[in-house]
Protein backbone atom coordinates (compact mmCIF):
# COMPACT_ATOMS: atom_id res chain seq x y z
CA UNK A 1 0.00 0.00 0.00
CA UNK A 2 2.73 2.40 0.96
CA UNK A 3 4.60 1.95 -2.28
CA UNK A 4 1.83 2.95 -4.68
CA UNK A 5 2.00 6.30 -6.37
CA UNK A 6 -1.62 7.17 -5.57
CA UNK A 7 -4.06 5.90 -2.95
CA UNK A 8 -7.47 4.56 -3.98
CA UNK A 9 -10.33 3.05 -2.02
CA UNK A 10 -8.97 -0.45 -2.54
CA UNK A 11 -5.69 0.60 -1.02
CA UNK A 12 -7.37 1.91 2.11
CA UNK A 13 -9.16 -1.44 2.42
CA UNK A 14 -5.86 -3.24 1.95
CA UNK A 15 -4.32 -1.18 4.74
CA UNK A 16 -7.23 -2.05 7.00
CA UNK A 17 -6.75 -5.75 6.14
CA UNK A 18 -3.04 -5.50 6.95
CA UNK A 19 -3.85 -4.17 10.40
CA UNK A 20 -6.51 -6.82 10.91
CA UNK A 21 -4.02 -9.60 10.13
CA UNK A 22 -1.93 -8.11 12.92
CA UNK A 23 -4.82 -8.78 15.33
CA UNK A 24 -5.68 -5.13 16.08
CA UNK A 25 -9.35 -6.01 15.59
CA UNK A 26 -11.89 -4.66 13.06
CA UNK A 27 -12.95 -1.68 15.17
CA UNK A 28 -9.45 -0.32 15.81
CA UNK A 29 -8.42 -0.96 12.19
CA UNK A 30 -11.36 1.02 10.86
CA UNK A 31 -10.88 3.87 13.35
CA UNK A 32 -7.18 4.34 12.73
CA UNK A 33 -7.47 4.08 8.93
CA UNK A 34 -10.34 6.60 9.01
CA UNK A 35 -8.16 8.96 11.05
CA UNK A 36 -5.26 8.52 8.65
CA UNK A 37 -7.47 9.18 5.63
CA UNK A 38 -8.66 12.40 7.24
CA UNK A 39 -5.12 13.42 8.05
CA UNK A 40 -3.97 12.64 4.48
CA UNK A 41 -6.81 14.84 3.18
CA UNK A 42 -6.30 17.70 5.69
CA UNK A 43 -2.53 17.85 5.33
CA UNK A 44 -2.46 17.10 1.61
CA UNK A 45 -0.13 14.15 2.11
CA UNK A 46 0.88 12.96 -1.35
CA UNK A 47 3.76 10.52 -1.18
CA UNK A 48 3.59 6.92 0.09
CA UNK A 49 6.59 7.58 2.32
CA UNK A 50 4.87 10.48 4.04
CA UNK A 51 1.72 8.42 4.43
CA UNK A 52 3.67 5.55 6.01
CA UNK A 53 5.34 7.99 8.39
CA UNK A 54 1.94 9.44 9.36
CA UNK A 55 0.54 5.93 9.97
CA UNK A 56 3.52 4.98 12.10
CA UNK A 57 3.18 8.14 14.18
CA UNK A 58 -0.54 7.52 14.76
CA UNK A 59 0.15 3.94 15.85
CA UNK A 60 3.08 4.81 18.11
CA UNK A 61 1.00 7.53 19.78
CA UNK A 62 -1.80 4.99 20.30
CA UNK A 63 0.58 2.92 22.43
CA UNK A 64 1.46 5.70 24.82
CA UNK A 65 0.25 4.50 28.19
CA UNK A 66 2.78 5.95 30.54
CA UNK A 67 5.94 4.60 32.07
CA UNK A 68 7.04 1.15 31.02
CA UNK A 69 9.52 0.89 33.88
CA UNK A 70 9.32 -2.03 36.29
CA UNK A 71 8.46 -0.89 39.82
CA UNK A 72 11.40 -0.91 42.20
CA UNK A 73 12.96 0.43 45.35
CA UNK A 74 10.61 -1.15 47.88
CA UNK A 75 12.03 -3.63 50.35
CA UNK A 76 11.29 -6.06 48.62
CA UNK A 77 9.38 -4.94 45.51
CA UNK A 78 6.53 -7.41 45.13
CA UNK A 79 5.62 -8.49 41.61
CA UNK A 80 2.53 -10.61 41.04
CA UNK A 81 2.39 -12.39 37.68
CA UNK A 82 -1.01 -13.41 36.32
CA UNK A 83 -2.64 -14.55 33.11
CA UNK A 84 -4.56 -17.27 31.33
CA UNK A 85 -3.35 -20.83 30.98
CA UNK A 86 -0.21 -21.37 28.98
CA UNK A 87 0.41 -17.69 28.18
CA UNK A 88 4.04 -17.79 29.35
CA UNK A 89 3.97 -16.68 33.00
CA UNK A 90 6.44 -19.12 34.55
CA UNK A 91 8.98 -18.72 31.75
CA UNK A 92 8.62 -14.92 31.81
CA UNK A 93 9.26 -14.90 35.57
CA UNK A 94 12.50 -16.82 35.04
CA UNK A 95 13.52 -14.36 32.33
CA UNK A 96 12.65 -11.39 34.55
CA UNK A 97 14.66 -12.79 37.47
CA UNK A 98 17.56 -13.35 35.09
CA UNK A 99 17.56 -9.78 33.78
CA UNK A 100 17.24 -8.42 37.33
CA UNK A 101 20.21 -10.55 38.35
CA UNK A 102 22.23 -9.14 35.44
CA UNK A 103 21.41 -5.70 36.85
CA UNK A 104 22.69 -6.75 40.25
CA UNK A 105 19.25 -7.22 41.84
CA UNK A 106 18.25 -10.34 43.78
CA UNK A 107 14.91 -12.14 43.52
CA UNK A 108 12.98 -14.70 45.48
CA UNK A 109 10.44 -16.69 43.50
CA UNK A 110 7.14 -17.91 44.97
CA UNK A 111 5.66 -21.07 43.46
CA UNK A 112 2.04 -20.14 44.04
CA UNK A 113 0.72 -22.36 41.25
CA UNK A 114 -0.13 -25.28 43.49
CA UNK A 115 -2.64 -26.76 41.09
CA UNK A 116 -1.09 -27.70 37.75
CA UNK A 117 0.91 -30.91 37.34
CA UNK A 118 4.62 -30.17 37.30
CA UNK A 119 4.19 -26.43 37.95
CA UNK A 120 6.24 -26.32 41.15
CA UNK A 121 8.95 -28.52 39.58
CA UNK A 122 9.07 -26.24 36.55
CA UNK A 123 9.71 -23.10 38.63
CA UNK A 124 12.20 -24.92 40.86
CA UNK A 125 14.24 -25.94 37.81
CA UNK A 126 14.39 -22.31 36.69
CA UNK A 127 15.31 -21.24 40.22
CA UNK A 128 18.19 -23.75 40.24
CA UNK A 129 19.42 -22.58 36.85
CA UNK A 130 19.35 -18.96 38.02
CA UNK A 131 20.62 -19.74 41.50
CA UNK A 132 17.68 -17.77 42.91
CA UNK A 133 15.66 -19.13 45.81
CA UNK A 134 12.19 -20.60 45.27
CA UNK A 135 9.63 -20.79 48.07
CA UNK A 136 7.18 -23.64 47.54
CA UNK A 137 4.77 -25.81 49.46
CA UNK A 138 3.38 -29.16 48.32
CA UNK A 139 1.00 -29.49 45.35
CA UNK A 140 -2.57 -28.72 46.40
CA UNK A 141 -1.52 -26.23 49.06
CA UNK A 142 -3.34 -22.89 49.41
CA UNK A 143 -1.66 -20.37 47.08
CA UNK A 144 -2.29 -17.59 49.61
CA UNK A 145 -0.34 -19.60 52.21
CA UNK A 146 2.62 -19.95 49.82
CA UNK A 147 2.53 -16.20 49.21
CA UNK A 148 2.38 -15.42 52.91
CA UNK A 149 5.34 -17.71 53.52
CA UNK A 150 7.30 -16.20 50.60
CA UNK A 151 6.67 -12.67 51.93
CA UNK A 152 8.28 -13.55 55.23
CA UNK A 153 11.19 -15.25 53.50
CA UNK A 154 11.75 -12.34 51.09
CA UNK A 155 11.75 -9.75 53.87
CA UNK A 156 14.06 -11.86 56.06
CA UNK A 157 16.45 -12.49 53.18
CA UNK A 158 16.46 -8.82 52.18
CA UNK A 159 15.98 -9.57 48.48
CA UNK A 160 15.21 -6.77 46.05
CA UNK A 161 12.29 -8.54 44.38
CA UNK A 162 9.66 -11.10 45.30
CA UNK A 163 8.15 -12.49 42.10
CA UNK A 164 5.00 -14.57 42.50
CA UNK A 165 4.08 -17.21 39.92
CA UNK A 166 0.37 -17.99 39.86
CA UNK A 167 -1.67 -20.71 38.19
CA UNK A 168 -3.09 -20.01 34.76
CA UNK A 169 -6.78 -19.23 34.89
CA UNK A 170 -9.41 -18.15 32.37
CA UNK A 171 -10.62 -14.65 33.21
CA UNK A 172 -14.22 -15.84 33.13
CA UNK A 173 -13.72 -18.42 35.89
CA UNK A 174 -15.25 -16.67 38.91
CA UNK A 175 -13.82 -19.05 41.51
CA UNK A 176 -10.27 -18.83 40.21
CA UNK A 177 -10.46 -15.04 39.93
CA UNK A 178 -11.69 -14.96 43.54
CA UNK A 179 -8.66 -17.08 44.52
CA UNK A 180 -6.43 -14.46 42.91
CA UNK A 181 -8.21 -11.64 44.75
CA UNK A 182 -7.52 -13.49 48.00
CA UNK A 183 -3.78 -13.57 47.19
CA UNK A 184 -3.88 -9.80 46.62
CA UNK A 185 -5.63 -9.29 49.98
CA UNK A 186 -2.87 -11.28 51.72
CA UNK A 187 -0.31 -8.99 50.05
CA UNK A 188 -2.28 -5.83 50.94
CA UNK A 189 -2.40 -6.84 54.58
CA UNK A 190 1.33 -7.43 54.72
CA UNK A 191 2.21 -4.16 52.99
CA UNK A 192 -0.34 -1.54 51.99
CA UNK A 193 1.55 -0.82 48.78
CA UNK A 194 1.77 -4.46 47.75
CA UNK A 195 1.65 -5.83 45.14
CA UNK A 196 3.82 -3.04 43.71
CA UNK A 197 3.52 -4.51 40.24
CA UNK A 198 0.88 -6.78 38.74
CA UNK A 199 2.04 -8.10 35.41
CA UNK A 200 -0.45 -9.69 33.04
CA UNK A 201 1.23 -12.11 30.66
CA UNK A 202 -0.52 -12.21 27.29
CA UNK A 203 0.24 -14.78 24.62
CA UNK A 204 1.26 -12.80 21.52
CA UNK A 205 -0.73 -15.19 19.34
CA UNK A 206 -4.01 -14.41 21.10
CA UNK A 207 -6.74 -12.69 19.17
CA UNK A 208 -9.53 -10.45 20.39
CA UNK A 209 -10.03 -12.42 23.60
CA UNK A 210 -6.94 -10.67 24.99
CA UNK A 211 -9.07 -7.56 25.47
CA UNK A 212 -11.45 -9.51 27.73
CA UNK A 213 -8.42 -10.90 29.58
CA UNK A 214 -6.98 -7.44 30.21
CA UNK A 215 -10.37 -6.10 31.30
CA UNK A 216 -11.28 -8.85 33.74
CA UNK A 217 -7.83 -9.37 35.25
CA UNK A 218 -7.65 -5.59 35.58
CA UNK A 219 -10.97 -5.44 37.39
CA UNK A 220 -10.02 -8.30 39.70
CA UNK A 221 -6.46 -7.41 40.70
CA UNK A 222 -5.49 -4.15 39.02
CA UNK A 223 -2.97 -4.83 36.25
CA UNK A 224 -0.04 -2.37 36.22
CA UNK A 225 1.81 -3.75 33.22
CA UNK A 226 1.70 -6.28 30.43
CA UNK A 227 4.26 -8.81 29.23
CA UNK A 228 3.56 -9.76 25.64
CA UNK A 229 5.07 -13.23 25.31
CA UNK A 230 5.86 -15.33 22.23
CA UNK A 231 6.46 -12.37 19.95
CA UNK A 232 9.10 -14.46 18.16
CA UNK A 233 6.13 -16.22 16.54
CA UNK A 234 4.61 -15.04 13.28
CA UNK A 235 1.93 -12.99 15.00
CA UNK A 236 2.15 -9.26 15.54
CA UNK A 237 0.39 -8.91 18.90
CA UNK A 238 -1.78 -6.06 17.59
CA UNK A 239 -4.40 -6.66 20.25
CA UNK A 240 -2.35 -4.36 22.48
CA UNK A 241 -3.83 -1.43 20.55
CA UNK A 242 -7.46 -1.87 21.64
CA UNK A 243 -6.17 -2.82 25.12
CA UNK A 244 -4.11 0.37 25.45
CA UNK A 245 -6.93 2.46 24.01
CA UNK A 246 -9.49 1.15 26.48
CA UNK A 247 -7.44 0.43 29.59
CA UNK A 248 -4.22 2.46 29.25
CA UNK A 249 -2.04 -0.31 30.70
CA UNK A 250 1.61 0.00 29.65
CA UNK A 251 3.24 -2.86 27.75
CA UNK A 252 6.41 -3.33 29.78
CA UNK A 253 8.18 -6.34 28.26
CA UNK A 254 8.04 -8.67 25.30
CA UNK A 255 9.01 -12.33 25.29
CA UNK A 256 10.98 -13.32 22.23
CA UNK A 257 11.73 -16.99 22.78
CA UNK A 258 12.06 -19.85 25.24
CA UNK A 259 15.56 -19.10 26.55
CA UNK A 260 16.40 -17.22 29.69
CA UNK A 261 17.52 -14.02 27.99
CA UNK A 262 14.58 -13.83 25.55
CA UNK A 263 12.98 -10.89 27.33
CA UNK A 264 13.18 -7.33 26.04
CA UNK A 265 11.87 -3.97 27.17
CA UNK A 266 8.89 -3.02 24.98
CA UNK A 267 9.83 -0.65 22.17
CA UNK A 268 6.76 0.94 20.52
CA UNK A 269 8.69 2.08 17.42
CA UNK A 270 10.09 -1.38 16.70
CA UNK A 271 6.69 -2.92 17.43
CA UNK A 272 4.87 -0.64 14.97
CA UNK A 273 7.49 -1.17 12.25
CA UNK A 274 7.02 -4.95 12.57
CA UNK A 275 3.26 -4.56 12.42
CA UNK A 276 3.37 -2.63 9.17
CA UNK A 277 5.85 -4.93 7.43
Amino acid sequence: VFTRSSIGDDDWEELEDLLITGDVGPEFALDIVTRLRQQVKDEGIKTPDAMLAAMQTLLIEALDAGSGELAGGHGPTIVLVVGVNGSGKTTSIAKLAHSLKRAGLTSLLAAADTFRAGAIDQLKIWGDRLDQRVVAHQPGADPAAVVFDALGAATAAGVDYLIIDTAGRLQTNRNLMAELEKVVRVLNRADAGAPHEVLLVLDGLTGQNALSQARLFGEAVGVTGIILAKLDSSSKGGVVFPITEELAVPIKFVGTGESIDDLAVFDPTEFVEALLR
Binding site: P26, V84, N85, R116, A117, I125, Q171, N173, L205, Q208
Partner: protein, 292 residues
Amino acid sequence: RLTERLDAALKKMTGRGKIREADVDEAMREVRRALLEADVHFKVARSFIAAVRERAVGKEVLSSVTPAQQVVKIVHDELTELLGRETEGLAKASDGPTVIMVIGLQGSGKTTSAAKLALRLKKAGGTPLLAAADVKRPAAVEQLRTLGEQIDVPVHFESAKSKPEHIARNALDKARKDKHSAVIVDTAGRIQLDEELMEEVRRMGKLTKPDEVLFVADAMTGQEAVNVAAEFHERVPLTGLILTKMDGDARGGAALSIRAVTGVPVKFLAQGEKVEPLEVFHPDRLASRILG
Protein backbone atom coordinates in the same frame (compact mmCIF):
# COMPACT_ATOMS: atom_id res chain seq x y z
CA ARG B 1 -25.60 -9.85 19.74
CA LEU B 2 -25.51 -10.50 16.00
CA THR B 3 -29.28 -11.00 15.60
CA GLU B 4 -29.93 -7.60 17.18
CA ARG B 5 -27.30 -5.92 15.00
CA LEU B 6 -28.83 -7.56 11.92
CA ASP B 7 -32.32 -6.44 13.01
CA ALA B 8 -31.10 -2.84 12.92
CA ALA B 9 -29.34 -3.38 9.57
CA LEU B 10 -32.37 -5.02 7.94
CA LYS B 11 -35.21 -2.94 9.44
CA LYS B 12 -36.00 -1.44 6.08
CA MET B 13 -36.91 -4.87 4.67
CA THR B 14 -40.56 -5.82 5.00
CA GLY B 15 -42.24 -9.20 4.57
CA ARG B 16 -42.81 -8.83 0.85
CA GLY B 17 -40.73 -9.58 -2.27
CA LYS B 18 -37.20 -10.90 -2.56
CA ILE B 19 -34.02 -10.12 -0.61
CA ARG B 20 -32.09 -7.60 -2.68
CA GLU B 21 -28.36 -6.94 -2.98
CA ALA B 22 -28.64 -3.51 -1.35
CA ASP B 23 -30.60 -4.94 1.57
CA VAL B 24 -27.86 -7.33 2.52
CA ASP B 25 -24.88 -4.98 2.12
CA GLU B 26 -25.17 -3.56 5.60
CA ALA B 27 -26.09 -6.95 7.07
CA MET B 28 -22.97 -8.48 5.52
CA ARG B 29 -20.85 -5.72 7.07
CA GLU B 30 -22.27 -6.72 10.48
CA VAL B 31 -21.59 -10.41 9.84
CA ARG B 32 -18.03 -9.58 8.74
CA ARG B 33 -17.46 -7.58 11.90
CA ALA B 34 -18.82 -10.42 14.05
CA LEU B 35 -16.50 -12.93 12.33
CA LEU B 36 -13.42 -10.71 12.69
CA GLU B 37 -14.19 -10.11 16.36
CA ALA B 38 -14.35 -13.90 16.67
CA ASP B 39 -10.82 -14.14 15.20
CA VAL B 40 -11.90 -15.65 11.87
CA HIS B 41 -9.13 -14.98 9.34
CA PHE B 42 -10.03 -11.96 7.21
CA LYS B 43 -9.73 -13.84 3.89
CA VAL B 44 -11.90 -16.69 5.19
CA ALA B 45 -14.43 -14.10 6.41
CA ARG B 46 -14.39 -12.44 3.00
CA SER B 47 -15.09 -15.62 1.01
CA PHE B 48 -17.66 -16.71 3.60
CA ILE B 49 -19.56 -13.43 3.19
CA ALA B 50 -19.50 -13.86 -0.59
CA ALA B 51 -21.01 -17.34 -0.25
CA VAL B 52 -23.70 -16.11 2.14
CA ARG B 53 -24.52 -13.16 -0.09
CA GLU B 54 -25.03 -15.55 -2.98
CA ARG B 55 -27.36 -17.72 -0.91
CA ALA B 56 -29.35 -14.82 0.51
CA VAL B 57 -29.87 -12.49 -2.47
CA GLY B 58 -32.92 -13.41 -4.49
CA LYS B 59 -34.50 -15.43 -1.71
CA GLU B 60 -38.16 -14.79 -0.95
CA VAL B 61 -38.60 -12.68 2.16
CA LEU B 62 -40.49 -15.01 4.48
CA SER B 63 -43.43 -13.66 6.44
CA SER B 64 -42.99 -16.16 9.28
CA VAL B 65 -39.68 -14.74 10.53
CA THR B 66 -37.98 -11.33 10.62
CA PRO B 67 -35.52 -10.60 7.79
CA ALA B 68 -32.74 -10.66 10.40
CA GLN B 69 -33.72 -14.13 11.56
CA GLN B 70 -33.80 -15.29 7.96
CA VAL B 71 -30.31 -13.95 7.25
CA VAL B 72 -28.95 -15.34 10.53
CA LYS B 73 -30.28 -18.77 9.60
CA ILE B 74 -28.53 -18.61 6.21
CA VAL B 75 -25.30 -17.47 7.90
CA HIS B 76 -25.57 -20.13 10.60
CA ASP B 77 -26.27 -22.93 8.11
CA GLU B 78 -23.43 -21.86 5.84
CA LEU B 79 -21.05 -21.71 8.80
CA THR B 80 -22.12 -25.12 10.09
CA GLU B 81 -21.55 -26.60 6.66
CA LEU B 82 -18.11 -25.02 6.39
CA LEU B 83 -17.08 -26.38 9.78
CA GLY B 84 -17.62 -29.88 8.52
CA ARG B 85 -19.45 -32.97 9.65
CA GLU B 86 -19.57 -34.23 13.18
CA THR B 87 -16.40 -36.04 14.06
CA GLU B 88 -16.00 -39.75 13.48
CA GLY B 89 -13.75 -39.96 16.54
CA LEU B 90 -10.21 -41.30 16.54
CA ALA B 91 -8.70 -43.41 13.79
CA LYS B 92 -7.79 -46.96 14.67
CA ALA B 93 -4.77 -48.89 13.41
CA SER B 94 -5.70 -52.01 11.43
CA ASP B 95 -3.19 -54.03 13.45
CA GLY B 96 -0.88 -53.17 16.31
CA PRO B 97 -1.15 -50.08 18.48
CA THR B 98 -2.87 -46.97 17.15
CA VAL B 99 -0.29 -44.17 17.04
CA ILE B 100 -1.48 -40.69 17.96
CA MET B 101 0.78 -37.62 17.90
CA VAL B 102 -0.16 -34.27 19.43
CA ILE B 103 1.62 -31.23 18.03
CA GLY B 104 1.17 -27.47 18.15
CA LEU B 105 2.34 -24.10 19.41
CA GLN B 106 3.76 -23.51 22.87
CA GLY B 107 1.25 -23.58 25.69
CA SER B 108 -1.70 -24.61 23.50
CA GLY B 109 -2.66 -27.54 25.75
CA LYS B 110 -0.93 -30.55 24.15
CA THR B 111 0.27 -32.30 27.33
CA THR B 112 -3.10 -31.92 29.03
CA SER B 113 -4.92 -33.02 25.85
CA ALA B 114 -2.65 -36.04 25.46
CA ALA B 115 -3.76 -37.19 28.92
CA LYS B 116 -7.40 -36.54 28.02
CA LEU B 117 -7.03 -38.64 24.89
CA ALA B 118 -5.53 -41.44 26.96
CA LEU B 119 -8.47 -41.25 29.35
CA ARG B 120 -10.93 -41.36 26.45
CA LEU B 121 -9.32 -44.51 25.04
CA LYS B 122 -9.12 -46.11 28.47
CA LYS B 123 -12.81 -45.45 29.14
CA ALA B 124 -13.59 -47.10 25.81
CA GLY B 125 -11.81 -50.23 27.02
CA GLY B 126 -8.40 -49.59 25.52
CA THR B 127 -4.92 -49.83 27.04
CA PRO B 128 -3.14 -46.64 26.00
CA LEU B 129 0.52 -45.77 26.61
CA LEU B 130 1.62 -42.15 26.87
CA ALA B 131 5.03 -41.10 25.53
CA ALA B 132 6.82 -38.09 27.02
CA ALA B 133 8.68 -36.83 23.96
CA ASP B 134 9.11 -33.24 25.17
CA VAL B 135 12.60 -33.11 26.62
CA LYS B 136 13.01 -29.37 26.22
CA ARG B 137 10.52 -27.74 28.56
CA PRO B 138 11.52 -27.86 32.25
CA ALA B 139 9.52 -30.55 34.07
CA ALA B 140 7.46 -31.48 30.98
CA VAL B 141 8.16 -35.16 31.65
CA GLU B 142 7.14 -34.73 35.31
CA GLN B 143 3.95 -33.03 34.16
CA LEU B 144 2.94 -35.91 31.88
CA ARG B 145 3.97 -38.53 34.44
CA THR B 146 1.83 -36.84 37.11
CA LEU B 147 -1.16 -36.73 34.75
CA GLY B 148 -0.55 -40.37 33.81
CA GLU B 149 -0.63 -41.30 37.49
CA GLN B 150 -3.89 -39.39 37.98
CA ILE B 151 -5.63 -41.48 35.33
CA ASP B 152 -3.65 -44.68 35.90
CA VAL B 153 -2.12 -44.77 32.42
CA PRO B 154 1.56 -45.73 32.00
CA VAL B 155 4.00 -43.18 30.62
CA HIS B 156 7.10 -44.03 28.60
CA PHE B 157 9.86 -41.53 29.33
CA GLU B 158 13.63 -41.35 28.92
CA SER B 159 16.45 -39.07 29.98
CA ALA B 160 16.59 -35.49 28.73
CA LYS B 161 19.49 -36.51 26.50
CA SER B 162 17.27 -38.74 24.34
CA LYS B 163 16.04 -37.39 21.03
CA PRO B 164 12.27 -36.87 20.81
CA GLU B 165 11.88 -39.03 17.70
CA HIS B 166 13.73 -41.89 19.41
CA ILE B 167 11.55 -41.60 22.50
CA ALA B 168 8.51 -41.84 20.24
CA ARG B 169 9.98 -44.80 18.36
CA ASN B 170 10.90 -46.59 21.60
CA ALA B 171 7.43 -45.97 23.00
CA LEU B 172 5.94 -47.55 19.88
CA ASP B 173 8.22 -50.58 20.26
CA LYS B 174 7.18 -50.91 23.90
CA ALA B 175 3.51 -50.55 22.95
CA ARG B 176 3.89 -53.37 20.41
CA LYS B 177 5.79 -55.58 22.83
CA ASP B 178 3.38 -55.03 25.75
CA LYS B 179 0.31 -55.11 23.48
CA HIS B 180 -0.98 -51.59 24.24
CA SER B 181 -3.94 -50.64 22.09
CA ALA B 182 -2.56 -47.14 21.48
CA VAL B 183 0.43 -44.90 22.04
CA ILE B 184 -0.09 -41.17 22.44
CA VAL B 185 3.00 -39.07 21.83
CA ASP B 186 3.22 -35.70 23.59
CA THR B 187 5.62 -33.32 21.83
CA ALA B 188 7.28 -30.02 22.67
CA GLY B 189 5.56 -26.80 21.67
CA ARG B 190 7.11 -25.20 18.59
CA ILE B 191 6.54 -22.29 16.23
CA GLN B 192 6.27 -23.01 12.50
CA LEU B 193 9.11 -20.54 11.87
CA ASP B 194 11.59 -22.83 13.60
CA GLU B 195 13.00 -24.88 10.72
CA GLU B 196 14.85 -27.32 12.95
CA LEU B 197 11.85 -28.12 15.13
CA MET B 198 9.53 -28.44 12.15
CA GLU B 199 12.00 -30.92 10.65
CA GLU B 200 12.02 -32.78 13.97
CA VAL B 201 8.25 -33.22 13.92
CA ARG B 202 8.41 -34.37 10.31
CA ARG B 203 11.03 -36.98 11.26
CA MET B 204 8.89 -38.15 14.19
CA GLY B 205 6.03 -38.69 11.77
CA LYS B 206 8.21 -40.66 9.37
CA LEU B 207 9.56 -42.86 12.18
CA THR B 208 6.26 -43.69 13.87
CA LYS B 209 3.78 -43.53 10.94
CA PRO B 210 0.98 -42.10 13.13
CA ASP B 211 -2.65 -42.99 12.54
CA GLU B 212 -3.61 -39.60 13.94
CA VAL B 213 -1.68 -36.35 13.96
CA LEU B 214 -3.71 -33.96 16.05
CA PHE B 215 -3.02 -30.23 15.92
CA VAL B 216 -3.78 -28.76 19.34
CA ALA B 217 -4.90 -25.16 18.96
CA ASP B 218 -5.86 -22.63 21.60
CA ALA B 219 -9.44 -21.40 21.01
CA MET B 220 -8.24 -17.83 21.53
CA THR B 221 -5.65 -17.89 18.71
CA GLY B 222 -5.86 -14.87 16.42
CA GLN B 223 -5.32 -14.28 12.70
CA GLU B 224 -2.08 -16.29 12.50
CA ALA B 225 -3.91 -19.56 13.20
CA VAL B 226 -4.19 -20.21 9.47
CA ASN B 227 -0.53 -19.68 8.63
CA VAL B 228 0.59 -21.76 11.59
CA ALA B 229 -1.74 -24.67 10.84
CA ALA B 230 -0.99 -24.60 7.11
CA GLU B 231 2.75 -24.86 7.76
CA PHE B 232 2.33 -27.70 10.27
CA HIS B 233 0.00 -29.46 7.82
CA GLU B 234 2.61 -29.13 5.09
CA ARG B 235 5.29 -30.78 7.31
CA VAL B 236 3.33 -33.66 8.73
CA PRO B 237 -0.22 -34.05 7.45
CA LEU B 238 -2.70 -33.22 10.18
CA THR B 239 -5.62 -35.60 10.61
CA GLY B 240 -7.55 -33.55 13.12
CA LEU B 241 -7.79 -30.47 15.29
CA ILE B 242 -8.29 -30.23 19.05
CA LEU B 243 -9.54 -26.82 20.10
CA THR B 244 -8.58 -26.13 23.74
CA LYS B 245 -9.69 -23.75 26.49
CA MET B 246 -13.24 -23.73 25.18
CA ASP B 247 -14.39 -23.30 28.78
CA GLY B 248 -13.51 -19.61 28.41
CA ASP B 249 -15.28 -16.98 26.33
CA ALA B 250 -12.99 -17.03 23.29
CA ARG B 251 -15.25 -17.34 20.24
CA GLY B 252 -13.01 -19.87 18.50
CA GLY B 253 -12.94 -18.42 14.99
CA ALA B 254 -9.49 -19.94 14.51
CA ALA B 255 -11.23 -23.31 14.12
CA LEU B 256 -13.19 -22.06 11.11
CA SER B 257 -10.09 -20.53 9.52
CA ILE B 258 -8.00 -23.67 9.98
CA ARG B 259 -10.78 -25.90 8.72
CA ALA B 260 -11.58 -23.69 5.73
CA VAL B 261 -7.98 -23.28 4.60
CA THR B 262 -6.41 -26.67 5.40
CA GLY B 263 -9.49 -28.89 5.32
CA VAL B 264 -8.37 -30.47 8.59
CA PRO B 265 -11.46 -31.63 10.53
CA VAL B 266 -12.21 -30.41 14.02
CA LYS B 267 -12.24 -33.55 16.16
CA PHE B 268 -12.46 -32.53 19.80
CA LEU B 269 -13.04 -29.56 22.04
CA ALA B 270 -11.19 -29.36 25.36
CA GLN B 271 -13.24 -27.73 28.07
CA GLY B 272 -11.09 -27.50 31.19
CA GLU B 273 -7.83 -28.02 33.01
CA LYS B 274 -8.74 -31.26 34.72
CA VAL B 275 -8.10 -34.50 32.89
CA GLU B 276 -11.67 -35.22 31.91
CA PRO B 277 -13.09 -36.61 28.68
CA LEU B 278 -12.85 -34.42 25.60
CA GLU B 279 -16.04 -33.07 24.08
CA VAL B 280 -16.86 -34.41 20.68
CA PHE B 281 -17.18 -31.65 18.09
CA HIS B 282 -20.66 -30.49 16.99
CA PRO B 283 -20.46 -28.07 14.05
CA ASP B 284 -23.76 -26.28 14.72
CA ARG B 285 -22.81 -25.51 18.33
CA LEU B 286 -19.42 -24.13 17.35
CA ALA B 287 -21.08 -22.08 14.59
CA SER B 288 -23.38 -20.42 17.15
CA ARG B 289 -20.43 -19.65 19.37
CA ILE B 290 -18.35 -18.13 16.58
CA LEU B 291 -21.25 -15.88 15.55
CA GLY B 292 -21.59 -14.67 19.13
